[in-house]
């Protein structure tokens, strides 16, 4: 997980997405406890209010839940839910940029499809 202040994305979103990545890769398995706000803040040198805001995004989506006085945990079903969410965002996050650059370089849709097929077969 990397926090980059130069990136376009606000830091709180980077935190949320970093935790999501951790859940998707299995670094934070379902049911397991994730680090505390203080641990995230100190480790990445970010304001605790920012870390809290990022984590609350995931709490609102029921991907993370809080146990009072104990800590924060990954919900059961979080992986499935995150995959669905990322699938829905896939076009906007990846395909539209790809097409924009392809057009700039003069590729046709057939050229791109051929490249994608090549990539999948590797």
């Amino acid at each position: 997980m990397k926090i980059n202040p130069d990136q376009e994305k606000p830091i709180f979103i980077q935190i949320a997405e970093g935790i999501e990545d951790g859940i998707l890769t299995g670094a934070f398995p379902e049911g397991s406890q994730i680090p505390s706000i203080t641990e995230f803040s100190v480790n990445y040198k970010i304001n605790p209010a920012t870390a809290l805001k990022g984590i609350n995004l995931l709490v609102d989506e029921n991907i993370i839940f809080k146990k009072r006085g104990v800590g924060m945990f990954v919900s059961n079903g979080a992986v499935k839910q995150l995959k669905e969410k990322r699938q829905n965002q896939f076009y906007n996050n990846y395909i539209s940029n790809l097409i924009e650059e392809a057009k700039r370089l003069g590729f046709s849709s057939d050229d791109i499809i051929a490249m994608i097929e090549r990539g999948f077969s590797q």
């Binding site: 202040p5 130069d6 606000p10 830091i11 203080t38 803040s41 100190v42 040198k45 304001n47 920012t50």
Partner: protein, 286 residues
């Protein structure tokens, strides 16, 4: 009311006006970045708030009570800056004991732990410390003093990258455990950009911004393209949005604006968010 309120404060030194009609609120329990170019008035502002200097005009209140000549109130604030208030020959360890006399909430044990982390020898005389270790010594005082308002005037002056990193981490850790108001005046904007919650920008003795860092960053954008594209974009939107600066190189031009990019007019142009340092440079470059 909790917090610090600076109201219509003016301060002049001989023929220079350091601060002019400055008004500012500092909320309790937040980390602020105080940014300004050399001579903008940052240090003067911090000296006034902590009663080391006195305003010519205006008032400063802390939790509702006037700061001026109020010794009990000054127990609540702590300022570190380039000044050394301890006798020249005093050793680090002794300075901790003296600080404890003035600020009973000073945690000597914690200060000694921090000395170990920073590898500061407590038997050394303060005046014999290098520039970096002078800063470290003062930072240790500020992190151990446990008062509600702590002001850091250039805390990372002379610190190497490892020690700067350690300082920011310890500050956040301390703040997480028991929140206090911290005001950090610094020129290393990129480093504090994620640490601070609010940003105050001071320019030629006047506060030009005081808002949440996130809000400020989202209020501006830069737009790049060919010079003619940018000029026509500015012609259409320059009146409704504040143009804070432009950069040109060859036929390429970048404009820095406060406002929201018009999505219908930006096709073919590159729109990006400004980071805090870029925004600061554009806002204070004249």
């Amino acid at each position: 009311m909790k917090g610090i309120e600076v109201k219509n404060v003016t301060k002049t030194f001989q023929d220079t006006t350091a601060l002019s009609q400055v008004s500012l609120n500092l909320e309790a329990g937040k980390i602020y970045g105080l940014l300004g170019r050399n001579g903008a008035g940052k240090s003067t502002l911090l000296n006034l708030i902590t009663n080391r200097k006195f305003p010519d005009e205006g008032t400063i209140t802390l939790d509702g009570a006037t700061v001026a000549e109020n010794d009990a109130l000054l127990q609540q604030v702590f300022l570190i800056n380039e000044q050394n208030l301890f006798p020249e020959g005093m050793k680090v360890k002794k300075a901790f004991q003296v600080t404890k006399l003035f600020h009973p909430s000073f945690d000597e044990e914690y200060a000694l732990q921090l000395c170990k982390k920073f590898e500061l020898n407590t038997k050394k005389k303060i005046k014999s410390l290098s520039t970096g270790y002078q800063s470290i010594f003062k930072n240790i005082l500020a992190l151990s003093v446990n008062v509600p308002y702590v002001f850091f005037d250039e805390p990372v002056l002379g610190l190497d990258a490892y020690h700067r990193d350690l300082f920011y981490k310890l500050l956040i850790e301390k703040y997480s455990i028991s929140p206090f108001t911290a005001v950090i005046s610094t020129h290393l904007i990129e480093e504090v950009a994620t640490v601070i919650e609010n940003v105050i920008i001071i320019k030629k003795g006047t506060i030009i911004k005081n808002q949440s860092c996130e809000e400020l960053l989202s209020s501006g954008y830069c737009i790049s393209g060919t010079a003619s594209q940018i000029d026509s974009y500015l012609f259409s939107y320059g009146s409704s949005q504040e143009l804070i600066g432009t950069d040109s190189i060859g036929g390429l031009k970048t404009a820095y604006l406060l406002g929201t990019p018009d999505s219908s007019a930006v096709s073919g142009l590159e729109v990006s968010q400004m980071d805090l340092q870029k925004l600061f440079i554009q806002l204070t470059n004249s």
